[in-house]
């Protein structure tokens, strides 16, 4: 799926965040820019309101515009890039807030960029939030590490609460900044009932977690962050990435959660996306998912006995025993979700979470389900 394209910028200084339209009548509003795709060239441009002397500014001779739908929100940059920030036909929209991160996870799919881009993205996102359709069901906040925005993060979430009151907010964070109680309190003070934080926890044992995150004290800080957040009643989803380093203590982690973190709202066991650092560290991380199904089943049972909601993300149904299918979720963002040709003939393709398009290494393990046990539909 294309999310970015390039052309020649004219008159673009600051990044322009605008709603894409193919109807000139919409250009009466400053918020819109015109997608003009003719046979010869494709342009994305806007007309300034100084109608005495019409000024056109935008990106011209763009490589492709066919991926841009009516109502998508895009960003025009002075280096010629046209970036899609929001897609109206997708339920997986995410606000990217920074490439920086204070952790260093071995399997990071979005390796951090140590450049201060916080202000750059802050201005873009604050404009973007005002343009997003009010009926957007869910909006993610991700990066990098969103909590590095400090006070700007709370300004952003407050604006989402104001502009998009019915939109659920799902923020991915390592939770470490919330070990400062005032930071957790600031989030709570926004008083939005629609926030959920997705926080990874990889082991009950500090050294294992710290090694995977490649940061000293990350475990203690994350736990303290969760404790503080829970004191303010913020909803939390614990995320456990399944790889060779985490499956060994999976049932012990489940028991730890039942004893010490039983007030989390959800636990998600996640198949690993083999992109970025996960690829580089593949030898240390990758393990055939079929081989850890027993540990996963035990962990699910332990959590179920304490009535903690537990789900399996990002794993296809043919890797999972049928008795665990109830826990699976179609969680892979649409723009990177594939069902390879090896799946042909499978009876449950419509229910399957599918694969990350980058997990090609696993495609030869696909086993199309050709018959179902009578206990399932």
């Amino acid at each position: 799926m294309i999310l970015k394209t390039k052309g020649y910028a004219v008159g673009v200084e600051e990044p322009l965040v605008m709603i894409a339209t193919r109807y000139t009548s919409r250009l009466v509003s400053d918020d819109y820019c015109l997608i003009s795709d003719s046979l010869y060239d494709e342009d994305v441009y806007t007309v300034s309101q100084d109608s005495s002397d019409k000024q056109y500014k935008g990106i011209f001779n763009v490589k492709s515009t066919s991926h841009i739908c009516e109502g998508d929100i895009i960003c025009l940059r002075k280096d010629g890039y046209v970036q899609t920030l929001y897609r109206v036909n997708s339920s997986n929209n995410v606000l990217f807030v920074t490439g920086r991160c204070n952790s260093n996870c071995l399997m990071c799919s979005q390796p951090p960029i140590d450049k201060d881009d916080i202000d750059f993205w802050f201005h873009i996102n604050m404009k973007l939030i005002t343009l997003i359709p009010k009926n957007c069901p869910e909006l993610g906040i991700s990066g990098g590490e969103p909590s590095l925005l400090g006070d700007k993060l709370f300004q952003m979430i407050s604006l989402i609460k104001e502009e998009l009151p019915v939109t659920e907010i799902h923020m991915l964070t390592n939770g470490r900044m919330f070990s400062y109680d005032q930071f957790a309190e600031s989030l709570a003070r926004i008083n939005s009932p629609r926030i959920m934080l997705g926080i990874p926890l990889y082991s009950d044992y500090y050294q294992d977690h710290d090694y995977i995150v490649q940061t000293k004290d990350a475990y203690f800080q994350t736990l303290m962050g969760i404790t503080n957040l829970k004191r303010y009643g913020i909803r939390i989803e614990l995320r456990i990435v399944l790889n060779k380093l985490t499956v060994g203590r999976l049932d012990k982690l489940a028991r730890f959660i039942c004893a010490n973190l039983s007030n989390v709202d959800k636990v998600a066991f996640m198949g690993m996306e083999m992109v970025g650092r996960a690829n580089t560290n593949n030898k240390e991380l990758w393990v055939n998912p079929v081989s850890y199904m027993i540990q996963l089943k035990n962990a699910l049972e332990i959590l179920a006995s304490r009535k903690i909601v537990a789900q399996i993300y990002n794993l296809p149904l043919c890797f999972i025993p049928q008795e665990m299918w109830y826990a699976t979720v179609k969680s892979i963002s649409d723009w990177k979700n594939v069902l390879p040709t090896e799946c042909n003939g499978c009876l449950v393709m419509d229910k399957c979470p599918g694969f990350f398009q980058s997990n090609t290494k696993e495609f030869n393990l696909i086993n199309p389900i050709l018959e179902l046990n009578s206990s399932d539909e």
């Binding site: 951090p112 140590d114 044992y205 050294q207 090694y211 490649q214 736990l223 010490n260 006995s305």
Partner: protein, 498 residues
């Protein structure tokens, strides 16, 4: 900070680090509070301050304490101990806030104070049970009913409890002999409860000999729970519980069936009392409860009070009760293995304390003790007692646990009076000799009344305490069972309700 330094710092942060670089152990490890118990010849169980436990090889506790545990040689065990608050590599565990939350969770039952209010509405009874805790008086003496004045005061007292949810339990004698008083009391409470913002549950304890449809329809419309007495099959029940000219068992069974039909099975429960005679019939008693569709049974032992102390029949060694309990529990587990969900309630309570971070408001086994904190008793004559058993001592002219009088004393004088303060000094097992260093302390409780009645000392002497013997016996049996029999372990775990 100049640019070169910050660039170097970032580069070092992003460098791939080995596992051992994240080791925070410097000078060995510190011990956190924990204890241990030998389950059998090869296995110990170590238990931490909040009740988390690990089965380990025999000798492990000693190894940990004498610092012979090596992180390098036993990395998995070491990791288990760090993660579960047995040892720490820092003087204060960085997770101490989590531990604090755990301790608060274990004591959450205290948050709301007194919930169970027992009203002994009459001493009159139509039975003459051999172990009767209540001084029984024949039916003809109406002076042994609770006067309206005392009922009113008792209800006022109940409304003053800080707990938004309270239970009003009618006992006797035979409570149904004073059914009119019960109706009066419930009508009064129903009018007061919304004003005080209280949610009230009602229970009537009865032998069911006098039950009829009219009474049951009343119970249904006011959502009253029935707590019946059923000691076992006929040969056990009738031997323990005498009704002149009839079979108490047959009346009880008829009453149970009628109650279940009209109120529904979830609103009718039964309690058994164990006597020397009962001890011979563990399986039969379980079968009887299974047949009556109660979904479970509470294997209770006899309290050493009331007529029990005077009746030879009711004296027996706690060891014999434990044997009875083990056979009955095995039989119950067999039913579960065959696919029937049938619970032993005392074990269920203990398992909730052992297997979850939560506690159960079970007044006989909590620390601080259940008396006043969880339960209070109003006698027919207006006297206020700390527990059921305290009232029985009162009937034998031992007023050690009589806290006051409903008419003469205020709520504060009763609840915070001198007697209450004296009992408060011995009601937390964290500070009782023999309890404070017991591995099962966090699962158990304190019972000053029991120790006063059996040993003449509210503090209690643990080595000869039958309360301790019973608790330890049952808890250690559960640990052994969960270790030896994996199927039983799964069944026991399935009983836990949170």
């Amino acid at each position: 900070m100049n640019k070169e330094v910050s660039v170097a710092k970032i580069r070092d942060f992003r460098r791939h680090k080995e596992y051992k670089e994240f080791d925070q152990a410097s000078n060995g490890y510190s011990l956190m509070p924990f204890n241990f118990y030998r389950v059998d010849d090869t296995t110990e169980v170590i238990i931490n301050e909040v009740g988390d436990f690990l089965y380990v090889k025999k000798g492990t506790a000693e190894k940990i304490i004498t610092r012979k545990l090596s992180k390098r040689d036993e990395p998995d065990l070491y990791a288990d101990l760090i993660a579960n608050f047995f040892i720490s590599e820092h003087i204060y565990s960085p997770n101490i806030d989590i531990l604090a939350a755990r301790i608060r969770t274990k004591k959450l039952f205290l948050e709301s104070f007194t919930s169970l209010h027992i009203f002994v509405i009459t001493l009159r009874c139509d039975h003459t049970c051999s172990y009767c805790q209540v001084s029984r008086v024949t039916q003809n003496r109406d002076i042994f009913d609770m006067k309206r004045e005392y009922l009113d005061k008792g209800i006022d007292f109940m409304m003053k409890s800080p707990n938004p949810c309270v239970t009003m339990e009618f006992q006797g004698g035979e409570a149904l002999l004073a059914f009119d008083q019960i109706k009066y009391a419930i009508a009064k409470v129903e009018s007061l409860a919304p004003i005080y913002g209280k949610k009230v549950s009602y229970v009537i304890c009865t032998n069911l000999a006098l039950i009829n449809e009219e009474i049951l329809e009343y119970c249904k419309s006011h959502q009253i729970l029935i707590s019946a007495s059923l000691d076992g099959p006929k040969e056990v029940h009738d031997r323990n519980r005498n009704k002149l000219g009839a079979s108490s068992y047959e009346l009880a069974v008829r009453g149970i069936e009628m109650s279940q039909n009209i109120l529904g099975k979830d609103r009718v429960s039964a309690l058994m009392t164990t006597t020397l005679h009962s001890l011979k019939y563990p399986k039969e008693i379980v079968d009887e409860y299974f047949k009556r569709d109660f979904g479970g049974v509470f294997l209770r032992n006899i309290s050493p009070y009331g007529f029990a102390l005077r009746t030879e029949e009711a004296r027996y060694q706690t060891d014999e009760f434990l044997d009875f309990y083990k056979v009955a529990l095995d039989h119950i587990i067999e039913y579960n293995k065959q696919g029937f969900f049938f619970v032993e309630h005392f074990s269920q309570i203990l398992l909730t304390k052992i297997l979850t971070p939560y506690n159960v408001g079970f007044v006989d086994m909590q620390s601080p003790a259940g008396l006043i904190n969880g339960v209070i008793v109003f006698n027919y004559n207006g006297k206020v007692y700390a527990t059921d058993e305290s009232r029985m001592l009162g009937e034998q002219n031992d007023y050690s646990f009589m806290l006051g009088d409903l008419v003469d004393d205020t709520y504060d004088e009763i609840v915070y009076g001198e007697k209450a303060q004296k009992i408060a000094q011995v009601w937390a097992n964290e500070s009782l000799a023999g309890c404070s260093d017991c591995p099962f302390q966090v699962y158990c409780g304190a019972d000053p009344v029991h120790h006063w009645a059996t040993q003449g000392d509210i503090y209690g002497y643990r080595p000869t305490s039958s309360f301790c013997q019973k608790s330890k016996g049952v808890i250690s049996h559960l640990f052994k069972l969960m270790r030896e029999d994996n199927e039983a372990k799964k069944i026991l775990e399935s009983w836990v309700r949170i």
